[in-house]
């Protein structure tokens, strides 16, 4: 829906001013023209590269419940207003510039000139408005409304009491502004996480049918590659977009295959793939292969032991601390990760600005751990400890899907046995773990967590775009069924800091707030951080320009070339 009429200002100038204006205009056109026709330096142009990922994408419409496997493909076909840099700040993508208003509540983006969709239609600000407005549509089935609910008028549109989202304003063909209810620090990351959809394609489909519709399997965007085909269970093929604003990608075609990690490793080793993620135990095979190169990349996710604070045993801080000190996390990094990773001492990833570098490390000290338990009244009774007739026994729920994480379980069990804690390992698939963390009653209605639901569990977390993602995990009001605080964290200072972080715009001040959260959570140990694994990729000598980093596998994809 187009917003208000475009304003055009009439300009009256004298002859001199007219000349100056003409020259200025010419310069502007030259600059804008140059921007729209950037060229690229390619080592070689043309050819097809084949890479792999470990799972098939489910949805190719970026507004439907995206997982990493989905976004890996969406990144190729779609573009955003802004995109993250290697240091996770944001740089222009489709928007050439943006401005923040005085009251910090309005962001105005200006699109580049000459942007087109893969079918040749021009990209305009109304496409952007359409994309964001769709997320607030009452029939929208994709689940991402909460991300943009901070936009003024979004809630009203969602409730059906408004015809449009008042906070989204199309100022002209190339300019759009967003106004939030209050200054919202993570708004730029939010914008940076939304791929823009062409209104003329996706607007023609009933939004309630977006997941079932063909467009969910045949996407059309404005990114570096054009979607060609999706053979379910096998691969996706994309081809170079000739009119990509940053210059045509070097490759002609890119094939993304999906398959189990071991089979894909075999395919990489036999030369059938140009690049693929490599499981930790495959690193040696890749390194010893003269045609392959191993890339080691830091990630922003980590693994931790979660606790159920409603359990009186775990509610005792001494017990949590003893557990943290009794687990040999270094051995996990050396033995299970083979050195491709590190331990961490707080709940934010170590390579992010939210990690408090001065945080007190968690030391591996079996004697101190035993002493703590002893002091807390847990006395040794045979192999395990007990207090007041109750044995110090805890269940550890281990979700499948991450082989290294699964293997930490027996180590944790053996480590804790050394200090007298009995651990019962229960392995289950991820969906089953979720039913324990966010339980439902007999009728299927979500309910709150009680002490029976779980004791300890293993899970991963991390930062996708902004530390505000942790909010629902740390607010006491967001225990299931309301949010993701299944652990039951109830620390007012942490809450205050998290809420303040949302609205603090000064980056340094913001960093300090989250770092303090990190320190407090380290003391608290409701989450017992284990390790941060690095991601490994292998690429063949045939492929140049492959540079995975913390953002994933696709940075620089437009510069990939094959000989």
């Amino acid at each position: 829906m187009r917003a208000n009429a475009v304003k055009r200002t009439a300009v009256k100038r004298t002859a001199v001013r007219r000349t100056i204006a003409a020259v200025a205009l010419a310069a502007l056109i030259a600059v804008a023209g140059a921007q729209a026709e950037e060229t690229r330096e390619c080592a070689a142009t043309g050819g097809t590269a084949t890479i792999a990922q470990w799972s098939e994408p489910g949805n190719l419409n970026p507004l439907i419940f995206p997982t990493t496997y989905d976004t890996n493909i969406q990144e190729l076909v779609f573009a955003r207003l802004i995109r993250p840099t290697e240091t996770l700040t944001f740089e222009p993508d489709m928007a050439e510039s943006w401005e923040v208003s005085e009251d910090a509540r309005t962001l105005t983006f200006t699109l580049r000139e000459g942007l087109t969709w893969h079918d040749g239609e021009p990209v305009t600000a109304s496409d952007v408005a359409f994309t964001f407005t769709s997320m607030a549509d009452p029939e929208y089935p994709g689940g991402r409304f909460a991300e943009i609910s901070i936009i003024e008028g979004a809630q009203e549109y969602q409730d059906g009491t408004a015809e449009s989202v008042s906070g989204i304003q199309v100022l002209n063909d190339r300019t759009i502004s967003f106004t939030t209810l209050e200054p919202f620090a993570p708004f730029l990351p939010v914008i940076g996480g939304v791929y823009i959809l062409p209104e003329h394609i996706y607007g023609a489909v009933d939004i309630a049918q977006w997941q079932q519709d063909e467009t969910n399997r045949r996407p059309l965007g404005s990114g570096p590659f054009v979607f060609e085909q999706f053979r379910p269970g096998e691969f996706i093929e994309v081809s170079a977009f000739e009119d990509y604003w940053e210059g045509r990608p070097c490759l002609d075609r890119l094939i993304v295959r999906f398959g189990d990690q071991n089979t894909m490793l075999a395919a990489l080793l036999s030369g059938e793939l140009d690049a693929a993620p490599v499981p930790i135990d495959g690193a040696a095979s890749v390194e010893s292969n003269p045609d392959l190169e191993l890339h080691v990349v830091d990630s922003l996710s980590f693994q931790y032991i979660g606790t159920n604070l409603r359990n009186p045993i775990l509610a005792d801080h001494a017990v949590r601390e003893a557990i943290a000190m009794a687990v040999n996390r270094e051995a996990m990094v050396d033995g299970l990760l083979q050195g491709y990773g590190s331990t961490l001492n707080s709940i934010f990833p170590t390579n992010h600005w939210s990690y408090p570098d001065d945080v007190t490390p968690i030391t591996y000290d079996v004697e101190a751990a035993s002493a703590l338990l002893e002091e807390a009244g847990w006395t040794l009774d045979g192999e395990y400890r007990s207090k007041d007739g109750q044995e110090l026994a805890l269940r550890l729920f281990v979700p499948t899907g991450n082989q290294v994480r699964e293997r930490t379980a027996p180590i944790i069990q053996a480590n804790l046995r050394q200090v007298g804690i009995r651990v019962d390992i229960q392995t289950m698939d991820f969906a089953t773990l979720v039913t324990h963390l966010m339980p439902q009653d007999a009728e299927g209605t979500p309910r709150s967590v009680n002490v029976e639901d779980f004791d300890l569990f293993l899970l991963g977390f991390g930062i996708e775009r902004d530390p505000n993602e942790y909010l629902s995990y740390l607010l006491s009001s967001d225990s299931p069924p309301n949010g993701f605080n299944f652990i039951g964290v109830d620390t007012p200072e942490v809450e205050e800091l998290m809420l303040e972080g949302r609205v603090t715009l000064d980056q340094d001040a913001r960093a300090e707030l989250y770092q303090e959260v990190g320190r407090l959570m380290r003391e608290n140990l409701a989450w017992i951080p284990l390790y941060q694994a690095q991601d490994l990729y292998g690429s063949s000598s045939r492929l140049s320009g492959f540079q995975p980093d913390v953002r994933g596998v696709n940075p620089n994809v437009a510069n990939w070339s094959v000989e």
């Binding site: 084949t50 991300e147 079932q212 379910p232 269970g233 189990d260 080793l269 969906a431 993602e469 942790y470």
Partner: protein, 320 residues
């Protein structure tokens, strides 16, 4: 014959309903539903619940089953929870690869088993017999995923003669004979695994069926009349051992489908077995149900076919 045929079809339909209900109860009894297979901090529980309601996952089991059955009768297999793709389209696209894999494996298995079964029955307790029996037993004594990994390692990685996985070379755009050759190359290892396990079992059965036929009195009579060994084998023993082999064909079909699951997963073959594994893990019950149903239909058809062939092969058999 026709009333029997119709009777069987009706029976089959009843079985299918039973089967589908069973599979449904099981699928829905699984803890967690399709939307709980991931936790995304950007998607709060309230959104997930709304999505669940949209997919009808909050209704009681029997209502969901009834609705599924109702849709099924009108020919609508529903949509995948995970991807929104129409189930019929999704499962349909996997039928081809599964049939190619199973069909090729089946034909080769049958040929190999019959040849070796007859040969060993003709020379029982000989070295040849023991060797083949030994090899057959060996074939069925190793878990198939291991055989698959071993073959990939030897032939694809070490020797480089064959590709490791997939249906064909996706980057190349072959057509015509080149495409056929490429696809055939990709078929070799998966079929080899299926044949190694399938033929091994069938050889034993063929051997005992043929051996059994050879022990019949009429065979000895033919021999004593001076009929040559080869003729005896061909005319008498083979034809009569055909019957038990045909019944085995009916049994072999579900086993082949089941065996294909592991092979498809290891070789990332885009077949029904692998789709079942994925959909079960994703709690995508429309897809899982459709595959179970399809598997059941195929098995019923297979056994019906076997019965038909049986009637053709043995004039003594009459179905009323």
């Amino acid at each position: 014959m026709l009333p029997y045929f119709l009777h069987r079809v009706l029976q089959g339909a009843v079985i299918l309903v039973l089967v589908s209900f069973l599979a449904f109860i099981i699928s829905l009894a699984a803890p967690g539903n399709a939307l709980q297979t991931f936790i995304d901090p950007n998607i709060p529980p309230s959104e997930l619940r709304a999505a669940e309601a949209r997919l009808g996952l909050d209704r009681p089991v029997h209502v969901q089953y009834g609705s599924w059955l109702g849709e099924l009768v009108t020919g609508n297999l529903g949509y995948s929870f995970r991807t929104g793709r129409p189930v019929a389209e999704l499962v349909g696209s996997r039928l081809g690869p599964t049939f190619v894999l199973m069909g090729t494996a089946f034909v080769i298995t049958l040929a190999l088993a019959i040849w070796l079964g007859v040969a060993t029955a003709a020379r029982p307790y000989s070295l040849f017999d023991y060797t083949v029996t030994g090899a057959a037993f060996a074939g069925i004594s190793v878990p198939s995923f291991f055989t698959a990994m071993a073959l990939i390692y030897v032939f694809a990685l070490r020797l480089g003669w064959l590709p490791t996985s997939g249906l064909e070379d996706y980057a190349a755009s072959y057509s015509g004979w080149a495409q056929l050759a490429d696809r055939a190359q990709h078929l070799v290892l998966p079929v080899a695994v299926l044949v190694l396990t399938g033929a091994a079992e069938l050889v034993r059965h063929v051997r005992s069926a043929v051996g059994e036929a050879l022990r019949q009195d009429y065979v000895r009579t033919a021999r004593s009349k001076g009929v040559s060994d080869a003729r005896v084998l061909r005319h008498h023993a083979l034809r009569n051992s055909l019957l038990p082999v045909i019944t085995l064909v009916g049994v072999a079909l579900p086993r082949l489908l089941a065996g294909a699951v592991v092979v498809e997963v290891v070789f990332t073959w885009p077949g029904m077995g692998r789709l079942l594994v994925e959909s079960v893990f994703a709690r995508d019950y429309p897809v899982a149900m459709a595959i179970n149903l399809l598997g059941a239909v195929l098995v019923l058809l297979g056994s019906l076919l076997a019965d038909m062939l049986y009637a053709v092969a043995d004039p003594r058999v009459r179905y009323s």
